[in-house]
Symmetry: D2
């Protein structure tokens, strides 16, 4: 790390900070500039931490040099990871498309959706049984009954099931039914939940929180990896900005940025990322063109009747059309959409 | 709610939407403007929900009219709520100051901090035993041992104890030791946790998430209120913006805005809200001047040795000076700092 | 517009607001809900303005119904506009690529860049002669000498020239040399400049300001259109958000959103939108896949020697590779890259 | 500056970058860490610039060490600057309050406002004659006629006049009538305008752009200082964030931050910073408590009739009440409101 001293820092301040650095087991290199002195501290920066050094006398700021995450970094593991779960594969040229309704509402709804998305080429089925909702007055999900309906849909279509888990206590239950455990944006920093999924045999799809920096998101992945689960799929679903015409702002540059920094695959959620049905297909195409390893898309038999998220769901024919366009784009970037058989 | 139709909407689209509105048990009023037709739907808007209506044919957007929260609103309860917990009282002119270290580190640390903040006029002690940390490599807290040390500090000083709870499973345990359960910013939308604290006999301090809108924050409070706990203290601790010179951006206008919309008291956290020790006193004074019902401030015997958040903690003399300045400002706005005896 | 009254508004307040609405030449429709009364005011909303009504007694908020822009709106002109300038055409399936260095630095630099981007398939040349720079200590551009070098590059390659104008006083001069006048992000709300370019015979490329809402951006276009110039190209170049790994956040959902609201073509600037060379090609591809009408890209003979923006410029071979990939994506969305001959 | 090399950088890359650094006249210090090598480049960083170095082979990022502004920095001039203009003084304990309508509308309006704000203790009169407006359909100001009315108001009250200038061509004209030239938020990076005001004998009030970083804002001040005008007042008026309940988010921590970095005085605009009349007094009090050197506040004889910004203007009695409260807060922080006689 680099400790930047104030221009008013005294020699005594500098000496104090050298001692503080050495007390943390780091080696201090002092560089005296024309306006400022900086101390470059060499060693195990992640373990040492930088926090308390900023309180030192005469210190202006402390700049980290290494990324705060390790297991997630491409420096540790240069080759890209492919995550496989049933019919789903994401990474290394496999583009996986996860599709289905926001919430599981009934057997007819989820089974018909499963057939429709499979026919259109999706590689996995999504559907929420445990629903975290902003308002206590909104539909909260069918819970275990919903999980059973998802299992029934899998029985009929073979599609891998991706569904959200909202509490550490539910991880075992959800793991019985699901192929991939989804951690929602609101729970990205629910560390107990991260640790619990890290001990599950299921793959984990980790959504980015709407105000999380990319470093915070990768540190959340680090919690899962560090708990023993190597099968983490990152999911960019949009960040909160001043723009209000879309529900969130979908920063597709996350795709190439994250792919440079980490070996984990990254999928895009154009449904939450835009919040409007009519914007979803364009952003799905753009995500594939940007190099995303997959998509997760809300699809509902009749969006105008949906118990949740109808305004951003595609109906079956809209999804079918989107998949055709995405398959062509995938070909244009020398990749392929598809599912494992 | 107001349903704004597209300028291209047909009469049939309008008829369809009137039927959809009526099917939700609302009364439809059609107003034909020079460019657009709008449908004003009158009735129980919160129950009806607006989501799926946006998917209707010819609909441009749906604008809610009433606030989405109810129990938290001043419309339901016009008089301001005072929350009391041991020596702490916030609301209706009582300004409560909660102070202490980010993390409980040792008996000496927490007990000395408790005495120091009490002497300076604080009304409650803060200190984290269960620590949610961005990195798995950071100090994670002393857990139950930390709770016991907090209880010891209370024994010696009588100060009410405010400490964080991070999991529904811990609510009973933490409630045994604490006077106020703190829900951290990362858990503001951890609904299981909100519901669990809603069933605790302890007051709850609910921090705003860094990307939460004020409506989302008040809906989180609604979960607690709706679960049966009326003693909710709101805590503004800064939002995430493009500004990087401060750790977060502390929007003090939240104070008068929230006080107009809700009856719940609101306190300010100038430590997380700025992220730099030298900015804390100015923002603490400003918060009191803006009408905040209290403060929560990080104070540590020696910030440069702190296991966490040293860069934003005050030492004892800095806190003492801050309290003197705040007491004068409080008098200037005809309120008073202080604790219950 | 919809005037939402407070739940505490009296009958007298409502009467007052009805009179205020009628005094503005609008018709007032009063709708009494279960919790709130709203007044729907019908008529020429843009002319009436909403500002002062919010100060009325008992008013909670005023919601506009129509878009604030008119000439730019698709409601006024349903068919998409194609803007043509020399070899450049954007709109209605024509994808125009504008490429070249951030600043014109020398004859050799700009002429070699012009040849290289033309050979790679670009339809116009960009290059700054008047440079607005954040720091007074940065290179400020060659000014008129730079315009002459751009003209020389056009002579040799026939490529249309796109260059920035920063002051109303310079519009005539720049119009002599350029085919398209660029208004930079910092000047998006420099209304004198907008009006001056509105009176120029040249097309105008209007960049979005980094904190401008889409409505503000389209209102800036409205100033140009209203001054008599119908040839406006919108350029999305990224907004400022909390994300710091990229220089700005490039919200590609702007493309389908803007295309729905306005008839004007929209191009994407992946160079400023990301701020890092290695992210540019992915976002260029994504922009085309999202349906953008064109691109504007920084290309320099040797980015590491550039007087400005080297960190986000492509070299010739990187640009060539990017164009090949974009041409394939364009085909996949049934459009074509290219220039007019 | 610190050049952080990628972990994959070769020895040759490092050698190349050492040569690049030396070619810029800087001295290169190489520090080899456990994961990364960094090069600390010592010398005239502002002149050298960092941009093109980021394009070098094997470079991950380049971190600046010194602030990019110089004349504005407290390092160059440690003592605080007081700016004086007629009855207005801001800085070094003098709190100046600038008040008046958004736009000059008529003689009666501006003269009555001048008397009212003077009686309430304001030290200067504000009023816009040249109005930059988001929509071309909004009131654009009385222009020179407005300046004459401001001069008449000054004749009657002696109050210094603060008014906006929007074009370099108008600087001389406005300087004839005004004591302080205001540069609006939209023009913060209109460098021609900054340079023109830098050559005026009048003081300049420079508003922060809603998406400008503090460094960009101080660099804009640097343009004025560098053009020869030392009398610059900084004005924080809020930044654009995801929060929509207020028009902008007013980050009062800017006050102590900026006061530490620069010697220039900083005033707060609670009117634009909140956008709602009822939030203005609380934020005005908070600004004074935070240590602001002054306020600029919109006051109108009848806000509900205002041609612009009525929704955020105070009427005379509201302003009077605000001033009483602010005077008490000013006393509490050992400063004083007031005007020069």
């Amino acid at each position: 790390m680099i400790i930047v001293m104030k221009h008013t820092a005294s020699e005594e301040d500098i000496e104090t900070m050298i001692r503080e650095v050495e007390a943390k087991g780091l080696k201090a290199n002092v560089i005296r500039g024309t306006e400022r002195t900086v101390i470059a501290a060499v060693g195990e920066e992640r373990v040492a931490g930088i926090g308390s050094l900023e309180s030192g006398p005469g210190v202006d700021e402390v700049l980290p040099i290494v990324a705060p995450y390790k297991l997630a970094s491409r420096e540790l593991k240069p080759e890209s990871t492919t995550v496989r779960a049933g019919t789903l594969a994401v990474g290394n040229g496999n583009i996986g498309v996860i599709a289905g309704p926001c919430s599981v509402e009934s057997e007819e709804q989820i089974v018909s959706a499963a057939h429709a998305v499979k026919d259109a080429g999706a590689s996995a089925l999504r559907g929420g049984a445990f629903k975290p909702r902003t308002s206590p007055y909104s539909f909260q999900g069918l819970k275990e009954e919903g999980l059973k309906l998802l299992a029934e849909a899998r029985n009929q279509t073979d599609l891998a099931v991706v569904t959200e888990v909202v509490s550490p206590d539910d991880v075992d239950l959800v793991s019985e039914y699901a192929d991939v455990l989804q951690i929602g944006a609101r729970n990205m920093q629910n560390y107990r939940l991260l640790e619990a999924t890290g001990k599950s045999p299921r793959a984990v799809l980790l959504k980015r929180g709407p105000s999380a920096t990319i470093d915070e998101w990768l540190l959340a992945a680090e919690y899962i990896l560090d708990s023993g689960n190597p099968n983490v799929i990152l999911c960019e679903r949009g960040i909160r900005t001043f723009e209000t015409h879309t529900r969130f702002t979908l920063p597709l540059a996350s795709v190439p940025y994250v792919q440079q920094r980490t070996h984990l695959p990254v999928v895009i959620d154009p449904s939450h990322g835009t919040g409007h049905t009519y914007l979803v297909p364009a952003m799905a195409r753009a995500a594939i063109a940007a190099g995303a390893d997959g998509l997760i898309v809300e699809v509902h038999p009749s969006p105008e009747q949906a118990a949740s998220d109808g305004y951003q769901s595609l109906n079956f024919s809209q999804f079918d059309e989107m998949m055709c366009a995405c398959a062509i784009i995938a070909g244009a970037v020398e990749r392929q959409l598809g599912s494992l058989s």
